[in-house]
């Protein structure tokens, strides 16, 4: 190793030099990280905004304007409006334990029919070819054309909890017909939506009139921070 330093040089390194080196490298890395962080931050935020927007507009096809609404600390939903500023849907998050890991999803609550219309998976680790049928199985997706989500008289909880039932046993509008062979994942979808809706809808309902208000000509997604 011809280029290695002779050992004697390294033997008595003053503590100061070590500190200076470490400090210098630390400053250099701090500088680099902050630089890259500042440079990429707007791009990343834009990416995230686009990704959410894309999903929200996919769930609420008529919509083209999005507004974030904080119902409670840590509980945000996306209100989606069409060109004319009419509220078309409220998109919320849910999660429940599936077969392998948590199934994270977004679902669309349509205020007009007081029902849930459609969902999309944010993240899941379900078995490919089996659990992921929840995204492709036509019969299963048909459950979400109209899924009853009315609140009870007091507005404290759903009138009828949303449940997943065995394949072929669906009788009510608030039941989800499971995919045979993918029961666990089907249940996770139902549980995720139910858990989230039970918490979100009682908070959303009283504010619905306020949320419907949208100043014409303004793009709310830009005015919100």
């Amino acid at each position: 190793m011809s280029q290695a330093q002779p050992d004697s040089l390294q033997h008595q390194t003053p503590a100061l030099r070590m500190l200076v080196t470490l400090g210098g490298v630390a400053m250099l890395s701090g500088f680099l990280i902050v630089l890259v962080y500042q440079l990429t931050k707007p791009i990343i935020e834009e990416n995230q905004r686009l990704a959410i927007e894309q999903m929200v507009f996919k769930l609420v096809p008529a919509a083209s304007i999005r507004r974030d609404i904080e119902l409670a600390p840590g509980l945000s939903v996306y209100a989606a409006y069409d060109e004319q500023g009419r509220l078309k849907g409220v998109v919320a998050r849910g999660a429940a334990q599936g077969y392998a890991d948590l199934v994270h999803l977004l679902y669309n609550y349509a205020p007009d029919c007081d029902c849930i219309k459609g969902f999309d998976i944010l993240k899941m680790a379900e078995t490919p070819g089996l659990g992921d049928k929840i995204l492709t199985d036509k019969a299963f997706l048909a459950n979400f054309d109209y899924l009853d989500a009315r609140l009870d008289g007091e507005g404290k909880q759903l009138a009828n909890p949303i449940v997943t039932v065995k394949h072929g046993k669906k009788q009510e509008q608030w039941q989800i017909d499971a995919i045979s062979g993918a029961t666990v994942t089907s249940r996770a979808v139902g549980k995720a939506i139910n858990d989230s809706a039970q918490r979100m809808l009682p908070l959303l309902q009283p504010r619905l009139d306020e949320i419907r208000q949208i100043q014409p000509g303004q793009k709310p997604s830009e005015q919100q921070p």
Partner: protein, 354 residues
């Protein structure tokens, strides 16, 4: 005379029981034949073809790996026959044949040949093959067909003859056409677990509902007892598995009366087949008497846990594989002398390195 024989069974493993390995293997293979026959009677042509495929697949794989290593053929030891039959018996009757072939190659290759062949396989080869296809083709392996349907000896289930590498067609329409009464496409265990529906015990004993080809509890018991009396298998293993499964099922029922009871747990799914024919694989099970007991209880416990709390309906396969994996540890920790020696070695080595 009889007393002496009993003492012999208790105190010594198979090696001392007189019969050599090949003889034992041959008898076990013969004991599996009634099960295969019963399976073919109930599920017809599909089951026969599948059993034949896994059997020939295992023999072919064994020969192939022999040749690759330049070794003499080990087909004569009957172990590949047992693996092939057990594998076939543990699969659903409508399983596509090409997938059965994949399972057979995985069983012999991954489960056995890689680790040096007979006597060296760390886990039960048939179960390795089944676990592999369970992970590889999760949809096909959970598609069940009814037993005793009309025309089963002339027409196989359509999924049986799926083209290699291609997905079998949905058997829904075919089932609909057969209009088998009350058939739901779910195994008794799944029905109980997900729908809270119970199954008549007679069905379970004879293998009436949907299930793998070899799930007929009563017949397995008979064949297993025959082998145990011939001292071809260690009866302590199936007995401890069954006892612990029953015990845990009983305990579970104390806490939650809707949980399936001991008898149902024992007779459903692959428990009997696993306990009598798979867990007793001499290579993968412990050798010490206490070890055998721990092994059985471990398998029973894990089976219960997966069946009651897991995402899967059935857990016998994974429980036995886990038991196999833990067998070397159980062996080592149930031999007091070895344990002491190992401990002394640890501290010595630590001292040395420090």
């Amino acid at each position: 005379m009889t007393n002496k024989a009993q003492i012999e069974i208790r105190t010594s493993p198979h090696a001392h029981s007189g019969a050599d390995v090949v003889q034992i293997m041959r008898t076990v293979a013969l004991a599996l034949l009634p099960l295969a026959g019963w399976g073919v009677w109930r599920y017809g042509l599909s089951a026969a073809l599948l059993l034949l495929t896994t059997l020939l697949g295992c023999l072919l794989a064994e020969r192939l790996f022999n040749r690759m290593r330049g070794q003499p053929s080990s087909l004569g030891d009957w172990s590949a026959v047992i693996t092939g039959l057990l594998l076939g018996l543990s699969l659903p009757p409508g399983f596509p044949l090409w997938m059965g072939l994949v399972a057979a190659f995985a069983a012999i290759g991954l489960g056995k040949a890689l680790f040096g062949g007979l006597g060296m396989n760390p886990l039960n080869p048939a179960l390795v093959g089944r676990a592999f296809v369970q992970a590889a083709f999760p949809a096909a392996i959970t598609t069940w067909t009814p037993a005793l349907f009309d025309g089963r000896f002339t027409n196989p289930v359509p999924s049986t003859l799926a083209w290699p590498f291609l997905r079998p067609d949905d058997i829904g329409p075919w089932l609909h056409e057969r209009a088998v009464d009350g058939f739901t496409g779910a195994t008794p265990l799944a029905l109980m677990k997900y729908e809270g529906q119970s199954i008549p015990l007679t069905d379970l004993l004879m293998g009436g509902g949907a299930g793998s080809i070899g799930e007929a509890a009563l017949l397995i018991l008979v064949c297993g007892l025959f082998l145990a009396f011939k001292r071809m298998l260690d009866w302590r293993i199936p007995v401890s598995i069954m006892a612990s499964t029953a015990l845990f099922a009983w305990l579970a029922q104390l806490f939650d009366p809707s949980a399936p009871g001991p008898l149902i747990m024992l007779c459903s799914g692959g428990l009997m087949l696993g306990a009598w024919f798979m867990a007793t694989d001499m290579v993968g099970s412990p050798m010490t008497p206490l070890g055998v007991l721990i092994y059985g209880v471990l398998i029973g416990f894990v089976t219960e846990v997966i069946r009651l709390f897991g995402g899967l309906g059935e857990g016998v396969m994974y429980a036995i594989l886990l038991g196999n994996a833990a067998a070397p540890l159980i062996d080592q920790w149930t031999q007091p002398r070895v344990f002491g020696a190992a401990k002394a070695r640890t501290s010595a080595s630590a001292r040395k390195s420090a």
